[in-house]
Amino acid sequence: MAVACPIDLDTRKLRDEIRSIYARVASDPAGEFHFHRGPDYAAEFLRYDRAALAQLPAESTASFAGVANPHRIARIEEGALVVDIGCGAGMDLLLAAKSAGPRGRAIGIDMTESMAEKARASARAAGLDNVEVRLGDAMSLPLEDSSADVVISNGVLNLTSDKSVAFGEVFRVLKPGGRFLYADIVVANELSESIRKDVDLWTG
């Protein structure tokens, strides 16, 4: 399912490139990118509920750059503690916070400071006080063991250089019986060596 990291891939360069691209998505979501962004894309391509998106602050939906839709996988129960890995500007995070309700909690993790700040501002604008955003990395989540009822992630774990470490972190932070609502890209055909080493393609 996931692509193994080639031994000689420059993972530091990969992380820097990811930070740079998503900082640009945060500051200029209408700019030139090789992936779609925004609420119209989310509704048309990924079957998000357009009415639910319209209730969110525009700054959270404009920078949305997910690749699938974790909210269609299973319902998030009221009172749940939900973690969103790579929350970006917060669109999925705010939807999760609304599902979890005032008795629940939604914690977003993002490694890009400008995205994390956008998500915090969006939560304030939406009047959601059950949202917390932490700066952190999917390979080393700033969360306690067995603390989450639900983990969601959308288009982020494919960017990590070692999927088994990232999935292991999701497993670690979930409570026994906890659910992983995982949205990402999948590559069905075998990739050439040169493609696997191309940082530009990893960041797409």
């Binding site: 779609h36 391509f45 699938a68 299973a74 999935f167 979930l174 906890g178 949205a183």
Partner: protein
């Protein structure tokens, strides 16, 4: 890979034509890259 980590009930629920209309559409089609929804549960 999810099952190897210890997840159970791993199931693909839905696929999406995520890269349609982007500059990466051609390479996405060549390598059959799609968006995907997956369910998994911690045992």
């Amino acid at each position: 890979m999810l099952a190897q980590v210890g997840f159970r009930d791993v199931e693909v629920r839905e696929k999406f034509d995520t890269f349609r209309g982007t500059s990466k559409e051609r390479i996405a089609r060549k390598y059959a890259v799609t968006g995907i929804n997956i369910f998994a549960r911690k045992s």
